[in-house]
Symmetry: C3
């Protein structure tokens, strides 16, 4: 598959007489793709029913004639002001009960039936008008579902939808729901589904089963919303359909929306993310302030390769300082190129820079583009052009299965969020720590979805923190020939958020039981024999498994039975590093101990080395300059 | 009085066919008491008027037949969902104006007349049905009044109740209220009682007299709510009635609810409290993370001995990790035994472990019990059985008056909360610091209520921080033969929250005047001559009293006239330690300087030593192991 | 002009029979002025229309007969309780949508037409009654506009007013508004002015143009509210009219309210401010806890000299501990005197101590006065009397233009608040850092308003951070003979909050362009060649200007063309210190490097030295004691 570049463009923001020049410069810069349309509703339908699509026809034509392929976005993330008159209750409601009104974007509740119909209507108008346009080579639904915390809404529409959803889940049997949730606990039993409220504004915490069910419902609403658009587009177009996911948005199941789409894309803002969502220490934030976290983007690349069933892009690549993080530094020179190549190394089909020209107005006026507001090249332009030039000499992407599989389960993320048991603990955080340990060992990783049952080809499979594990998954893992690493907190809950009996994890082929669990203060790590420490979440293990890791105080932290291993604690970087390197070596993998900030990624035919630090680093493949990228044929194993 | 153990049990949570086995194991474990019923309303009255009490009859019978004594709780902390249909405005309202709805517990406003009547109705049904049941050996009203910040409600019901309460307080004379509150200050004068609103959502802080009156009203509402249940139960039962207070809940006057009850009980969660409410430094939290604060439980023991007029229990003793603190570690081995013995050392009649079996469902599924969810023994079981065995060889409790009295005044706590004058300052915090200094000196302490006028038998009486002191209390203290230690902030306000004239403290027999006061940053302690420092709250003293403590800069911190002492500052541990040890020695008390984490408590006949640290400590009674308890006959004075 | 002292008095708080004695003691203390009336509405009109002005007649007569001059305040900051019945929607609404109700003060929305009329009515009653009273020598409108965050209200009244205001701004052309704001950006276009909502409770941040316009509107509402009172008073009185501004309240344009007033006054609480609004480091807070920040009051003095067009007072001078800061220490002995003299050194006509007698009731019962609640002298009294005595031997104030002008633009403060781009960044903070650097260099500074076009007499003019600079200002500065120092962020936005093209700053006579900008973490200062560092906000500069400051890494931080200098970064104290000292020397100014906490201020005839530290400091004018003030004739240049 050919590696390509692109950008995001807003013809409606600029005078029509500069469109052609913009298109020409895009092509000149080596770009293939241009995404348009996703925020343009107010210009396409200024008043209800007053359709003004001609300008978009012309814009597509200008771009297409210049040789660009268009990704057309449905504009449902930004309904115009008049929509609020038609549907005054269309807004999401926050957990404090306040409607989240008009004036920015994503101002809708996924459960609102009126807006749902409007989103179908405008999608149908798009599909009918542009479905056969030869320049429209791909579609995007909406924009960044979940950005700005917009999945979960405590609206009346959501409440009504939730009741109906529960009624279906429980076959209209309220007693079954009461039993499944343990509502007897504090006399919380319902007599009918329409007695159920949303789990906010309670006196103390609501029932976790209630919260978790509401999260599942909320995710399903997104899947349905997205699917409705997909079905309409498919009626009129054979171009592939995508959605651009945002970094560390875990409030809905991307695998399930992905099932309805051909391509997964995501929006990669390494510096913004390091400031506002990676969760790095201040030291780490200082060290990588101008490069971004060395693993955060890679994890998303691997995740969206899975979500896209192999087909994925970066739809928005940070090209310079952004406007929305607590602090907004500029990238180190070379990082835009590095980020681009890193995406390709992980199998991206395309990398699109957001955005073409910095807008001098409105919310993102301090968000850099490839061009400055005065249309001069911004620093990103030269790096993008360098990547474009390098791509010309590059063989096509040859994706390959990685040797290591790491399961990522959105449902588990909601379960941890519902019941963290320790301040600040999250499933994503645990997965990220495990992923980082694997990467520091030089391993290439596949993220696999929770429905995976065939683990053939993997030498190591990790399922940390997956709070509910269906029986057939347990069986599939038990049957796998891979080194399988469970825990902590794996299989800790049944499907209805109860503690199972026998106690967790109840794994076939590995006799280990979590007899008790603790969460511990961050300033109280428990040192491990051999180095590193157990942190955050520590389980007490019983069973006949062979202890393979202990604290200095002698507590058993991990047990094994052959190539099944249960790790009953969250470990720090050294702890996970040592344990996983040792297990990887056993599994026959080539393991490295990479220098700080150096990362390696292998495709079927190539091996990429990246220097995420701001200084040259000596490596086994030579001195890598700051922000350096080295590409070489994949060595024989 | 016999020392006994017990547990908290929820027959409605378990299949009826395991009740008998559970009861048998309780007895086998050495337990005497089993508390039940307090959250069972939805199973007893699934729909309004549809009474289903038979299962509870059977549960009591099974438990009773096994030899257990039942404590029966009224279920008014968890009204069922249908109650919200009958009384849609029954919920408390938070200070931001949001109703605190159904879905957890304690979802009612004490001022709501409709729910008040419902609470009487269900209590009457309980009393009529179980009042003569021979196995019901004690009662509990409701559950943990005030837990989850549920005393103060800004509802319309509370507003109406407050207006009526004020009308009574001020003899229907609004001018008297305006004068008493100084409402002229910012043109806040009212023309009628129904012009008075609740003191929330004002532009800047409301009148402290307004706030403080609302807190007095809110406390009175709890007293009335509780009394209504007590009166009904007493009509049908002669068993003693109790309520289980929660740690550091000071928003209502426990002495006044206690006046209507035979027994005070409280719920002791040493590890959860250390994490979420003790206010300890991070170092202290690390040192005692698995043992709990060495003084926090003891203070409550002494407090509830006073609230219970000598009769008190621990109704819920933490048996392992809980689910609700920021971090939830497991107790150090031996601490469950230590906590039990500490309660007995302070005069407890009974210690009940919460709960019998860990629930695999709902909010507290990660709250440990004596049994694991799979019914195997949890670690607490062995320690409880050890205590049960040790109790067999133990003489009965012989309570004794302590040599030191420390006055605790809920009204003063509300006064400090109303007007802290320095960030983070609280009356409870001051009392706790004084109490800790006394304990570190090896002294046994009686908490005494503010209505106390007879101080006979005490060698030392302390009344720190009591912002309003009635004249007859001043006279009684002046007449006492004890060493009396006032201040800081004693008698600083009149009954209506005004600064009195002559200026405070205006004590008979001790000429000292607070001419000015400061609150100071925590990072600016003022070192004292001789060691320690004044912190937080520092008064400037005038008068003819003899200065006995000065800062290094020469400011007078404490003055005396004979055995009346006024201390005009909050002191740090060393400061209070030195001052109080010196005054105790003068008062003829035996004073120790106990090693870190070691505490001593004397009853009439015994002396108990406790090691709250995680390592053995050398003491004058020998080496105490970590979590060690030593019991010996009380030495002659 | 004669320097005078005064106090703030509340006759309505005290029995009438002590008024004469109070007045006598005021005169005896050397006071000239007494401010009264501003919170007395409920006593003047206890019920609507029931006017009770006789007591105020008598109070004025008693004070006047004693020889005092009265400043009479309109009582509009504290409408009585009955006003809320007449205008239930008169309250401001906070950004979360909650009305900010009755029970303290400032409980009104500036946009409410009903309350606006009431404020005119009561002002007219005041003016008619007291306009010719010979003892009423000055007026004050309302009290501390903006205190308690009361400028910006999200009420319906504000929304309606904002729509009308926009309609006027945009000549009833909604397309012009859409274009000016760039509303196309996220389909935020309006079809009519009545579609515009207030910029709160949006999903993510609203359009900065929307926010900034709302701030301009909110400021204009204050100007109109104030002007309405002024016009009425002027109809009946020839006494000068003032308003007492509060420290660091920047939400409305004080210059514009000042245009309608004869005198600007402000309320100076050095210790409270250091704790709650200066933004100093903990070390600085410790060092100056009892003295206040050495520059914060001085900046306000210079600001209000500009706001008052030369005529300004301190209307409320902190005399001891206050009640409202996080911590409330007592001033170091001598500081009340120092603060008084510092105000005179900056040109104050009068300094009034707040308040005469500490109130024993209501919100400020712990706010010190000149008298204690028991009417004895508080510590401030002796210092005020010393100042009064010293004033007798003192020549009149001879104001002089300072050699340095620093422009202060409220509109720029709103622009930074609208778009800080880095956490915690504010225009006021930048101005304060620049001001401090100038003061540490021993320079006297004039604050100049943004409408200033004549810079004659200034050797140095600084316009840092002024995000919008009108063309005629640019021209006037270019034409000035002074050393002109722009940046960072000067002229970064056009009048509608868009990035201009050509890119900023686009200054005549200085070829510099900000090609990119960054905000950086506080823990990542960028060291400068020669010392100091760039912090917070760093621009990348292009152009032919001569680089005069670089980072160690070689990035250009400042450029010049002759005596026009652009500084493209926020600098730390050392950075601003070095740069500004060097530029001042070039400009022919005498520059000092003052010891820590020492400050100098020159008037036309005098030079004042102040020691803000708590220890004696050796200076070029000799040893200055702690809190020391030295006054000497101004040395020849
Ligand atoms: Zn075409
Ligand atoms: Zn029986
Ligand atoms: Zn007169």
């Amino acid at each position: 598959m050919l590696r390509t570049l692109g950008t995001c463009y807003y013809p409606e923001h600029w005078p029509e007489d500069i469109w052609a020049e913009d298109a020409r410069r895009m092509v000149e810069a080596g770009l293939t793709w241009v995404r348009i349309g996703e925020f343009a509703w107010s210009r396409l339908e200024p008043s209800p029913g007053d359709l003004q699509f001609e300008w978009l026809d012309r814009a597509i034509e200008v771009l297409g004639q210049a040789g660009l392929k268009v990704v057309l976005g449905t504009p449902t993330a930004t309904p115009p002001r008049w929509m609020a008159d038609r549907h005054p209750d269309m807004f999401a409601v926050d957990d404090q009960g306040r409607p989240r009104g008009f004036g920015s974007r994503r101002h809708y509740c996924f459960s609102h039936k009126g807006y749902f119909a409007e989103s179908q209507r405008i999608t149908r108008l798009f599909a009918e008008r542009f479905g056969k346009n030869p320049h429209v080579a791909a579609w995007q639904t909406d924009n960044e579902y979940g950005c700005h915390d917009t999945i979960i809404s405590y609206s009346e529409a959501a409440r009504d939808g939730f009741r109906t959803w529960l009624q279906v889940q429980f076959n209209d049997d309220i007693a079954a729901l009461n039993a499944a949730w343990g509502n007897v606990f504090w006399s919380m039993e319902y007599r009918a589904f329409d007695e159920i409220a949303l789990p906010n504004l309670t006196v103390t915490e609501p029932n976790p089963a209630h919260v978790h069910a509401f999260r599942r419902f909320s995710s399903d609403q997104v899947v349905a919303f997205n699917r409705a658009q997909v079905e309409i587009i498919k009626d009129h177009s054979s171009a592939p359909i995508s959605h651009n996911y945002m970094g560390r948005i875990t409030d809905f199941d991307h695998f399930k929306t992905g099932d309805d789409l051909e391509i997964a894309t995501w929006d990669s803002y390494p510096l913004g993310f390091l400031e506002d969502r990676v969760g790095a220490s201040p030291e780490q934030q200082r060290a990588y302030a101008r490069q971004g976290d060395p693993d955060f983007q890679a994890l998303h690349h691997d995740l969206y390769r899975a979500v896209g069933k192999g087909r994925w892009w970066v739809m928005e690549q940070q090209p310079g300082p952004v406007n929305w993080a607590p602090y907004n530094p500029a990238p180190l020179s070379g990082m835009v190129r590095l980020w681009s190549w890193e995406a390709f190394a992980h199998g991206a089909e395309a990398v699109c820079y957001f955005r073409w020209r910095q807008a001098p107005f409105a919310q993102e006026q301090l968000h850099a583009g490839m061009l400055r507001p005065d249309s001069k090249d911004a620093p990103a332009m030269a790096e993008a052009m360098q990547v474009a030039a390098e791509l010309k000499d590059t063989p096509d992407v040859q994706p390959a299965q990685a040797p290591v599989a790491l399961m990522f389960d959105y449902d588990a993320d909601w379960a941890w969020a519902t019941q963290p048991q320790g301040q600040g603990l999250s499933y994503f955080g645990l997965i990220f720590d495990v992923y980082r340990a694997l990467r520091r060992a030089g391993l290439s990783v596949d993220i696999v979805r929770p429905e995976t049952r065939d683990f053939a080809g993997y030498k190591m499979v990790l399922v940390p923190g997956m709070m509910h594990m269906p029986d057939d998954l347990k069986q599939a893992l038990a049957a796998s020939q891979a080194q399988v690493i469970y825990g902590p907190r794996s299989a800790a809950r049944d499907a209805s958020f109860n503690i199972p009996n026998p106690l967790p994890p109840a794994l076939p082929g590995l006799d280990v039981t979590v007899s008790r669990l603790e969460t511990i203060r961050p300033d109280m790590p428990r040192p491990l024999k051999g180095g590193g420490a157990a942190i955050h979440y520590v389980e007490e293990l019983e069973g006949t498994g062979e202890p393979i890791l202990r604290t200095n105080a002698g507590e058993v932290i991990a047990m094994r039975d052959g190539h099944k291993i249960y790790c009953g604690a969250w470990l720090d970087d050294d702890g996970f590093g040592m344990l996983l390197r040792q297990l990887a070596i056993e599994a026959g993998l080539t393991v490295r101990d990479l220098p700080e900030g150096i990362r390696v990624r292998q495709t079927a035919t190539e091996e990429f080395w990246f220097n995420h630090t701001a200084a040259p680093v000596k490596t086994e493949v030579g001195l890598l300059p700051a922000a350096g990228v080295l590409r070489r044929p994949r060595p024989a194993c």
